[in-house]
């Protein structure tokens, strides 16, 4: 595998945005499929050892992907993504919200904007995540922790204990 694939991650706390850029050694249509098809998404969307489990997904404007991040112990963290804009093989946007198991979203959530472009067989994906409030941004990041690797950070373990 090509080791020179770009990975860029920056956060603008003032703008409440996180920017992520990543290159993939594959043609655009495959990368697009991996982002927009339920069976493929579930193979990679959750960082190990967590699993992504999609309950239902309808990839169209106004449609939703309802899925759970499942811990090795079987704990589920539910999310609802509502697609707000789709330009096939170029860009799509969705609203991402934490939810309970009955699909009740906790609004306003975060706005995701994902763009795709291809050059010389390498596909570049640009992700922008906007959070309406700093609190949500932090919550999202905190959720990121819950989805793995917390053991090594003592403070974090404490934090999670107080939250769960």
């Amino acid at each position: 595998m090509n080791k020179d694939l770009l990975f860029d991650f920056t956060a603008d706390k003032a703008a409440q945005k996180v920017y992520i850029t990543r290159e993939f050694d594959a043609e655009l249509s495959l990368v697009w499929d991996a982002y927009t098809q339920q069976e493929l998404l579930d193979q990679w969307w959750a960082p190990e050892p967590f699993k992504s489990r999609t309950k239902r997904m309808e990839f169209k404007v106004g449609g939703q992907r309802v899925f759970a991040m499942v811990s090795p112990e079987g704990q589920e963290g539910w999310l609802v993504q509502t697609y707000t804009s789709i330009s096939p093989k170029t860009n799509f946007k969705f609203l991402n919200a934490f939810a309970d198991e009955n699909e009740n979203p906790q609004l306003p959530g975060s706005e995701w904007d994902i763009s795709f472009s291809e050059a010389n067989g390498i596909t570049t994906v640009n992700i922008t995540i906007y959070n309406e409030s700093l609190e949500r941004m932090e919550r999202m990041i905190e959720m990121g922790f819950k989805q793995g690797f917390t053991a090594s950070i003592e403070n974090l373990a404490k934090l999670l204990k107080s939250r769960s």
């Binding site: 595998m1 694939l5 990975f7 991650f9 956060a11 706390k13 996180v18 992520i20 990543r22 993939f24 050694d25 594959a26 495959l30 990368v31 499929d33 991996a34 493929l40 193979q43 990679w44 969307w45 959750a46 960082p47 190990e48 409030s133 700093l134 609190e135 932090e138 919550r139 999202m140 990041i141 905190e142 990121g144 922790f145 989805q147 793995g148 690797f149 950070i153 403070n155 974090l156 934090l159 107080s162």
Partner: protein, 106 residues
């Protein structure tokens, strides 16, 4: 219960206080004046910020000046770094998925 940094900086007033004292250490009276708040309200915010170590008191004569503790804010960067690592993991998983898809096509 000890406060955590999320709860502390989720509040807009407390964020403003932090922004202000990051520039200059202030007494509770000065904070109350700047934010047009009661001393009581200021004390509550100070308590939260101090409990999670975002600010530190320093006595100067009869006054207490509160200083910003930048080290604590670095925790946020640690969290952010963790979020980045999660993405790294996810993208590596996606690399595998794409590699499988390519092989299946051949």
């Amino acid at each position: 219960m000890k406060q955590d940094i999320f709860q502390a900086i989720a509040d807009p007033t407390r964020r403003s206080i932090l922004t202000l004292i990051a520039v200059q250490a202030l007494t509770p009276n000065a904070m109350a004046e700047k934010f047009d708040m009661s001393r009581q309200a200021v004390s509550k915010h100070i308590k939260v910020l101090q409990e999670c170590d975002l600010i530190r008191p320093e006595h100067s004569g009869r006054e207490i000046y509160y200083h910003f503790n930048p080290k604590k804010m670095q925790e946020f960067d640690v969290w952010l770094d963790q979020f980045r690592k999660n993405w790294e993991t996810q993208f590596k998983q996606l690399d595998k998925v794409l590699s499988n898809l390519k092989n299946n096509k051949k």
